[in-house]
Structures are given as structure tokens and as C-alpha cells.
Symmetry: D2
Subunit: 366 residues, 4 copies
């Protein structure tokens, strides 16, 4: 059972290599009657697209998506939605010098050990290029959530740490996120990061980051205990993104420092409804959504492709020095923000449908 | 699609509530010809069993497992293996006073919101009791790995932090792990934890923990990109354990502090084989195992059932004060160690079979 | 991916061998709030139970089912429902003489080729004993359909041919089905079958049968094109029953004799609703239910265990003569009737939930 | 869980409507190292292509397949293989007059009831056009079987009955199958069918057919009891093909006429191997392959699009007379032959991988 599908009821199956003619996915299980057109997806792809600032890869891709099926007269039909994005800027020559190299921190070694095949053209399936497809599928998940839950549903991400430099949460401003090249919710920190990252870039080095995703407007009741808990599926979704090495929900690892009387969100009745007095849980209890914001954070390791020479080996079994020239992303965490949002949206869409199958609701508000 | 099955090819489906007559699981996909008898499973259940020190719940359960199918003359037949553990110490009266309460940090609120049913007898499916079944399934996964890979495969866990107190990794000793009630690999730290936890227990409070799981002896090539990466499935497995709020692989969140030239394991040829000069990756690259040790850590929040009064609400919608008397686990992280090991073993068994299906190997060494 | 689970959203996983201590299943995905108690399941098991006339196996089993989880205060909770039936009448000695034999028409040869294991105690998983579990799961599926669709839903079966002798459809009477040992809807034919089958039994031979299952009261819209069409899943369900060698829907194979103008059900408007002028389609078009009765037929081959000597081989690779003494079912098609009903109910429950997940309805009438 | 994927380990997900820009599928789980190029697939698509004789639809499609991913330097890489076929001859005007009609025997009524959407352009997902994708996936399955089992594996189909006219099995000649427009293995019958079908076509009517698929060269041991038996999955595969109303394995429905002593294939040892003295079982016992030829037959109902007026209703709820002009296939059974072969190949490839996952073999002969 190969692993190129994500989700169970809202399920997308992706395909395509970084240096093939195109990439794409098939989204099966999309409810009928959702308004959907290419610009709805293109909007989110444009946000993710590389080459938009000097801080992300200079690969230039239009990333123009085509809907090949499943939509008729502007609405989904219930049939699978096939999406395709052509690869325009393949530039295979850039990579010819690494044809015979296994690079530290890259997946080329393990792909070769697993499949016995050496596709030396570039990252192949392991390339960040694949994440465009996630963003496209996530755009459909967003539309689904808006229709089947409420137009108030929002899935938003931000970069909250770059290297050792954290944002100041007191200054959090969602509007700021769209205003700087880091998806940073804090303008002062964004300015500092710009200087910092420029230095990293010039040094031919790279730096890690922490990304935070928040989903609001979702009902209580999503999540399928005991193995497909909502937070378990979110953890999987985030960890499946390239270069992610850790995921946490709510207070996460910091919670180890708290005592039991601090760690749990107390409850009060307010106007006939339960109100939680905090959200250390990150929006889930027992793996089921509480109706509060769902918050997840993940860490993205520093880019492995750097200009500083590192020790690697050749496919033929010789020691070698590796320097990765060509395009360079000094902080791949930046590009992970729209991807994390998309994966969160997909998990939520899937769990909404799973919940509806067994428990019959929550129903569409339309 | 309810969530009571784990794994795709090595797949177990669990059932049972904390206060029903029994709990159990069906493990489907077990290869034929594996030597298996009840003591092979009982050994691991005994390790996990609560009530073994004053630091874990005083619920007394024999946790005696029965194999009801799938084994003939001491070997698996390829048919599903059904395991059952009777619940002896159900003590429903202990819980009668919380019949109408939604307690902070507990899953009873979200289960009620999801299913519309109030099973007031106790934790039900959300109880830590369910994790006995994971340990039982994990015991079969271990046997599978030993037969189909090598007797050298080892999946081991340890508690590496309790509250703010970390172990000293210089003193790591696997033998020590079995010698103290904390699965602590460092004897000095274990002694300090004992004092600390006694104070926590007397205060009626609780404390969080960080658990580390290591799997060694596995081949390179396990993991199914791009959505069922090995680390993604490990993240899901760990996050699905009760009270876990974060998971990391290799250097995890700490990696955000490193530059690109520090963060990636360099490689050298040694006696004709690739040797990595470190294991910051935690044994996976691109979601596929490298052949090094696989290391994951997860954080367990402090027990929510404490003696210190907290604010909750009643099922009927009134504010209430909650004090959880009865059994008390001041650090549930302790009991999570064998569970984390078991989940790691299950993930690896599943991925071994998935790899074998598509790529034809690695084959049994027997 | 072993094959001991059936269904996707309403999903049961079965376990147990004919000569082990028990058989059972776990039903995951059962909606919460369904009234369910052991007698609701026992009723259907009693109908299926062997040893009720001289025409079915003399194995005597109480087939008493226990619900071990998933039900609280008489209603399902949404948690998995675990069912167990103990094997009382194992009589292993009956089978000792066939310990080393591969018998014609039996699965023991192929199980050995597949798994490399010889469980000589009896049919193991291939025994008709396994079908008790299907009937138990089917009883829950019926409850689900009654609650989530309507109390009018009925899934009923009948034997319509035994050897060369067909019923007269003009005399079809559902009440008669419960009144004879053949589930025959035609009293005259039942009487003739009794004589015929007594002769077959005395001759130590066996005879095939055709069974017909009808489901009524279901809405239009069930079925998941293009690979999980409703009729495709029904075909799989029926073909998975022991000894079944063919399945047809609606006019089935007889339809080859019709011209296009005869083969398709015409439609008229009647009181504002579409009425079909026939049901040659058997209740599905394009793999989706039309709202008419769903009808499927399947053929059950003659019992392979007969008293007439046949040529087989030994496990050790020698020619041998095989005579199966002991219990004898001259027409296993009889016992397949309740099993076919149960499988139909399970397929429909699963598709109801699948439809609800994507399309949001039809909703519960309660 | 929508139904546009087929198979579990060798799994294809299809997309596309008859009147959209293209159709295609993603095949996930393809083992690495299989030689594969577009002509390997095109060969089988060309066999299926309509418009090749006056007896099949005059829609003219080049059906030129493109491989968009998963192949590098002429071999599969283990990544998903994406296939796309553009729709050239969409001719939407042909269908404009049926825009508001629900036609007898068509799926347009049930699709509308299920999804609430009316795609009036043509058959959409229910069109026979979708089956081109099955043939393409089947071509990859064939390559897989040839590499992983043996070059001797053959999956072949033939039409064995048209309307009431059966072939003479004494004259069966596989070479003849490719020599007439009916895939008829018997030249004399083919000639008679030509006259017969010409008369049907001129009458504006249509006729049913029975197709037989045979797979040879497969090992014993394929099939996953007890619900994913090989014959159960074959039944599902065949029943999922448009217009199929019945499936049988081996002696099938005719077996009801046999006594137990006739119905089961006896065994003898021959040169140290088991030899069956017949193949009434159709190559499976207990749902597992015996190593003999696997034979399945299915019935295809007469085309529902005919020139003879039939009673239907309009989308708006009025009675109407329906005549389907435009392209006309007087016997859609003809085009089902390559589709049935392809589905058989896909089932076998999937089960080979499933068997290998659990039992470790049979292994590649290469």
C-alpha cells in the first residue's frame, strides 16, 4: 500500500515529480454542489509559489492549475476532481552535477535504498514541488468547510520562530501575516528576520523555523478515537510535510513544565453554553474537537541544500564533497506555512465527513 | 469510518471500555509461521500493568491475555489473532460521584458532544485501560519483526524528562530502565524523580513527562512517501496515545536552533558501506528509514484527574467544582513508555509489510 | 492486507476457527443511539443455526452471542461493538481421519499452499462456522437501517432452486419461507424438495441451490460509482460466502436473451413521483439504487463433504480415496439463506453511511 | 468514501467524464523496475477503442495515452504512475436533445437522485468512456504480473454468447479471437453473429452478451479469506463494469444441476505434483487460487441507447418518449471484453502484492 493518498473520505491522491511534465492530484469524495473554479485554487497556489522574494527558491513556476474533471457549470458534481499543474521551469541542467551524489540530509539515499532506482534529475517525489499539490487540494477542503460548516471557518498559518528568534505574541496581528515575506504575524520580528535571513543567505547557509496553524469556526465532535484522533491525524499531516521534524498541539512540549492544576482548561457555563477558560488543549480533548480554535505547531529543519561544503558519498560508493549550487531557499519554513494550512484544512474536511457518516452531523448550514 | 483500527497491513482493531466485561483486539495480517503463545504477550502486559508502584494507578488488574484464534500448535496460521483481556477490577462505585460532571482536561465532554451518549461509568474508550490492547498488539509486532527482519531488532523506551527535570544523557544505561519505577535510564535522576513525584502525589497534583522510543536493527527503506512517511506514521501513532500533546523525530524542535551545516548527518564510506556521522535525522530521510536507529520523543501532559479542586460543569449545564478521588496516577507518562514502544513496533511491522508488498523485500532472515 | 474485514464505514472484522474456543467479530462505525441487546442478534443466529432439521449439519451449537463492548444502557455508544460466540461442540475426533488428506472441493489444499500451515482440526476459517459471525454483524446492520432509514426496511431471503427444481414464482409467499426447513417461498415445491433431499442424503450425495435476497424500503442514491457500485459490492459480498460460485442482480444471466427494448425498465410519472414499470434492473442503475427493491441471486455448489468416495491426495503427496463421514449437510444452500440476507444488510448499511458522508443524506427518520 | 479507486495495494484512482477535456487515472503501488512505456499501454487501448467496426460505437477517439509520472528512463520508479487520455471527439450536440430526459436503463436518473446534480452532456462518469482508463491500468497490471510472476502469465477474454447464440466450445481457438470484430473464439459462430448483429443494428435494437475471461500461469495461494477471496474480488471487479448484471466463476450457475460427486475437481499426484482432474472450481478453492486457470464469466445487458421509442420521464417530472439517436452500439458486450481482461489483471496484481505482504511470496522470477 503505497503512500500517495491522503485522507479517508475527503481523499486526494497525488502524482508527479519535480522534473516531470506535470504534477497533480485527484480529489475523491468531494461533496456535490460546492462552487468551485480554477481561481479558487489558484489563489492559494499563488500564495505558496516560490520565487516571490529573495528569501525563497528562485525557481519560477506559474503554477497554473487546471481542473480536468468533477466540476460542471461552476459546481462540483460528486465525481473526482482532477487537478493538474504543468512544470515549466524544470532546468534539469542545474542538477546534473549532483547526478551521482547522495547529499547529507536529502532523501536521495533512502529513495535509492527503498526502490533501487536512481532518478538523478532532482528531488522527484521528495521535492518541495510536490507540496503545490497539497495546497491545491487544501483549497478544495476550504471550500468544503465553508459550505458544509460555515463561511466563518478559517484555517490560517504563521511562522512564529526563525532560528532562535521567536515572535512576540503580544504583537500578533493576522493582517501582518500577509504583509511580509515570512508570514510573520509580528511586524517588528519580521524586520529583524529580514536582516537575519539575508546574512544566512549570503553565508550560503540555512536556518530552521517553527510554523503555527490555527483553525477556527469548527464544531465540537470532530475526531475518531482511539487511533484516528483529530490531533493524531493532524500530527501525521504535518509530519508528512518535507523537512518537518516535530509537531505539537496546544501547549505541546512546553506543557511538561506545568502541574496538573495548570495544564487543563477549566470550564464555566456562559449564556447556556460551555466556555473553556483557556485553550492549552489546542482545541482537542480525547482526540475530539472541543469547538475552540485548533492549534498545531511544527518545526522545519534548515534546508539541506546549502553552499557550504559537506561530506557525502557517491552512488558508486566513494566519499565526496557536496555543495549544492543553483536555487537556494535559506529558510524552507517560509514555504511550509501555506502547506501546513492546506494539510490542516484537508484533515478537517476528512474528519467532518467521517463524523457525518457515523453520527449524522453536523449538517451543512446551506 | 470510525477510528478503532491501527495500521494497514499489520492491522489491529480494538474494542472495549474501561468498565465493560473485557477489552481486546483482533490483529489481522499476521504472517503465518511466527511462534506465538500467551506468555509472549503477557510479558509485555506485565511491564505495563498499573499498580506496580505507588507512582501508578492503584487499579489492580491481572491483565491476563487470552489468544482466541489465529494460533495453532504454537505458531500463527495467517488467520486473524484475537486477543482478550478481562476487566476484573471495575469498581464502578469509585466513579459514581463524577456521573454528572464534565471534568477539565477529560474527554467526557467531547465524547458527549460527538456521540450524544453519556457513559458515566468511567473513561470508556478514552481510558488508559485501552492502552493495554496496544501493548498486546505490539507484542505480536515485535515477534513479527524478530522473525521477518532479525532477532537483533529492539524497540525500547525510556522516560527522559519528568516535569522540568531531564535525565543526564551521559549516564544513559538501558539496564537501568528496568530497574526503577520510571523507566528512567539514569539512576541518579530516577532517585531524584522518586522524591519529586512523592511530593507531587502528596499534593494531589500531577506532572508531565517526555518519553523517548528507540528502534534499532531495522533496515533502510521502510516508509511510504509522500503521505505515509515512516515519521508521519510514527507521529500519528504516538499522538494517538492518551494525553500526548507533541511528537518529534531525531533532533526535533531543538533543530530550529541549528544552521544547515549543523543540522544534517554527513556520510562517509566505511568498509564498503555508508556510515552516517550522526543521527540528527532520527533514522529517517524523506520519510524513509536510513538503517540507523529510529528515535522519537513525545510529551505526556500531567494527569487531569487530581485532588486539587478545579472548575468544571455538569452534564445538565451548571457550574461545578471537580475533585477526582479514587485511583490517582501522579505521572501518566510512566505508563506511556511501554505503550509508546508498542506503537513503534506496530508501525514498523506495518511498514515492513507495506515495503515488502511493493518492493519485494527485505525478506525474512529465517 | 489480510481479508478479515468487511465494509468500509460500517465495518466488521471477524476472527475464529471452527475448532478454536470461540468465534466473533468487532463491528466498528456503528452509529450511536441504536437500541441493541443480545436478543436482537440472537434472533437471527437462531434462524441460521445448524442442526434444526435433518437437512442441515448435526453439529449442535447454542450459538449464544455475547456483546462485550459498545453498548451502554441498551443503546450503542459509537464505540466498537465486540461480539463473541463460544464454540461448544468442537468434536475434533470426527475429523481426525482427514488429518492428512486434501479433499476435493475443499479449501484445505489452497490454505496450505498459501500459508504453509496445516490446521487439520477442521475447516478453520474456511468452515461454514464463520458465517455465524456474518449473521451477527448483519443483525446490527438491520438495526441501523431500521433506525437511520425506516422501520419499513426489510432484507429477506429465500431458496428458489434446489438442484434442477425451481420454485413456481406464482406461488411466492413470504410467510411460507419461515414455515419449512428450506426457506422455500412455495409450499408445494418445499414438499417436493423434502422428498428429493431425503433421497440425496440417503445416497450420501449432495445438491446445489440458488438463493435470492430482496431488500425493500431503501432510498434511491446508494452506491459509489464507478468501482464501488452498489451491485458490485453486493456481488463481492455474496461471492465471499462459502461455496458460492455465481451472483446476479435483477434479470441477471437470463437478460442475455432479451433485446434492448425488453431489457430496460420504462418509467412513468405517477402522483408526482417516478414509477418504474418493472424491475429487471434489480434495483440499481449505474451502480446506484433506484429506490425499488434490490434483488440478488447466488448459486451455492453442492456440499463437497459427501459419503461417496472421491479421489484426493495426502499432505505427504500420495493418492488417496476420500470419504467424509461425520456431520453431513446434503444442501448447504439452505444455511446460506440467512447469511446472504446478513451480507446484503451489511452492504446496505455501509453504503448508507458512505452516501451520508459525501452527500449528507438520506437522514435518519427518527 | 467515494468509489473511484480500485484495488488495495495495486490501486488505481480514476477521474474524468465523457465530455470533459480528458480522462485518466493514477496507479499507486506499482513496484519499481518494471519496463514501461506508452506503447505498452497504447497497445491495449487500441484493442478496446470504439469505432473499429460497424458493430461498435462510431465515436472516434485516438485514445492516445500519456504517462505523466512514475517512469524514468523506461522503468517504473515506485512513484505513482499518472495516465491521461484526452477526449477529442466530444460532440456535445449529439446529446442536446436528451438534456432533460431520464432514459430507461440509463444511470442519469440515479446519479441525479444521488448527487442532486444534472450533467446533461452525456454519460459523465457512467459512460463507457470511463472503461478506457481501466484498460490502461490493466496494461500496467499485466506488466507487473509478467515481471513479478512470469512472462507466461496470460489474461485473455472472449465473447462466448451473443443474445441466445452460444459458441461451440469444441471449436475454441484463441487465435480466432483477434481475427473477428466480436472477440469470438469460434470462427463459425462469429460469422453467424455478424449476420445476426447486422439485423439487430438495422432494427435499431440491441442485444446482450456473455464474456469469459481466463487467467493462466498464476501461482496457487492468491486470495485473502474470508471477505477478500479472490473470486469475491473478481466478482466485484466484473460487476463494476458498465451494464454487467451477473458474474460466475468456474461452473457457476450451471453447477446447481450437478450432484456433489460431479461438482468437485478430484486430484491425483503426477510427477510429484498435485494435478486436478478438472476445473469446475474455476481456479479457486476457499477463495484462494489453486494454480489452475482462473475463469470468470459475466453477462452484459443489451445497450440501453436504442432507436426504438421507449417510455421515460423528464427531469421536470413529465412523461416523455425516448429515442436515442447518434452513436449506437448494438452489442456493448463486445467492448466489455478488453475491459474484463483488464479488471482481471488488476485484481490479480493486487492480490499478488497482498499475498507477498503477508506471506512473503511468491517472489519475482526475474
Amino acid at each position: 500500500m503505497a503512500g500517495n493518498s491522503f485522507g479517508k473520505l475527503f481523499r486526494f491522491t497525488s502524482w508527479g515529480e519535480s522534473h516531470g511534465p506535470a504534477i497533480g492530484c485527484v480529489v475523491d469524495g468531494v461533496p456535490p454542489g460546492i462552487e468551485l473554479a480554477e481561481p479558487d485554487i489558484q489563489h492559494w497556489l499563488d500564495r505558496r509559489r516560490p520565487g516571490q522574494s529573495k528569501f525563497t527558491s528562485q525557481r519560477r513556476e506559474a503554477d497554473a492549475v487546471r481542473i480536468l474533471s468533477g466540476v460542471f457549470e461552476g459546481r462540483t458534481t460528486g465525481a473526482p476532481v482532477s487537478l493538474m499543474i504543468e512544470n515549466l521551469d524544470q532546468r534539469p541542467k542545474d542538477y546534473s552535477e549532483i547526478k551521482d551524489l547522495f547529499r547529507p540530509g536529502h532523501a536521495d539515499y533512502t529513495y535509492f535504498k527503498k526502490y533501487g532506482v536512481r532518478d538523478y534529475r532532482g528531488g522527484g517525489r521528495a521535492s518541495a514541488r510536490e507540496t503545490a499539490v497539497r495546497v491545491a487540494a487544501g483549497a478544495i477542503a476550504r471550500k468544503l468547510l465553508e459550505k458544509e460548516v460555515s463561511a466563518e471557518v478559517a484555517v490560517r498559518g504563521a511562522m512564529v520562530q526563525m532560528g532562535p528568534h521567536e515572535i512576540d505574541r503580544e504583537r500578533w496581528d493576522w493582517a501582518e501575516v500577509e504583509a511580509n515575506p515570512f508570514w510573520c504575524p509580528d511586524a517588528e520580528t519580521a524586520a529583524a528576520w529580514a536582516d537575519e535571513l539575508e546574512a544566512v543567505r549570503k553565508a550560503g547557509s540555512s536556518v530552521g523555523a517553527i510554523v503555527e496553524i490555527t483553525a477556527s469556526g469548527l464544531p465540537a465532535g470532530l475526531g475518531e478515537p482511539v487511533y484516528d484522533k483529530l490531533d493524531a491525524d493532524i500530527a501525521k499531516a504535518m509530519m508528512s510535510i518535507n523537512a518537518v521534524k516535530g509537531v505539537e498541539i496546544g501547549s505541546g512540549f512546553a506543557g511538561v513544565l506545568e502541574r496538573g492544576e495548570e495544564a487543563h482548561d477549566e470550564m464555566r457555563m456562559e449564556k447556556g453554553r460551555v466556555r473553556f477558560l483557556g485553550n492549552k488543549a489546542g482545541g482537542t480533548l480525547g482526540g475530539i474537537s472541543t469547538g475552540q480554535d485548533i492549534t498545531a505547531r511544527f518545526v522545519v529543519k534548515p534546508t539541506s541544500s546549502i553552499l557550504i561544503p559537506r561530506r557525502g558519498v557517491t552512488v558508486g560508493g566513494k566519499n565526496a564533497e557536496v555543495v549544492t549550487k543553483g536555487r537556494h531557499d535559506p529558510c524552507v519554513g517560509i514555504r511550509a506555512v501555506p502547506v501546513g494550512e492546506a494539510m490542516m484544512a484537508c484533515v478537517l474536511a476528512d474528519h467532518l465527513m467521517r463524523h457525518r457518516a457515523q453520527c449524522g452531523g453536523p449538517q451543512s448550514s446551506s
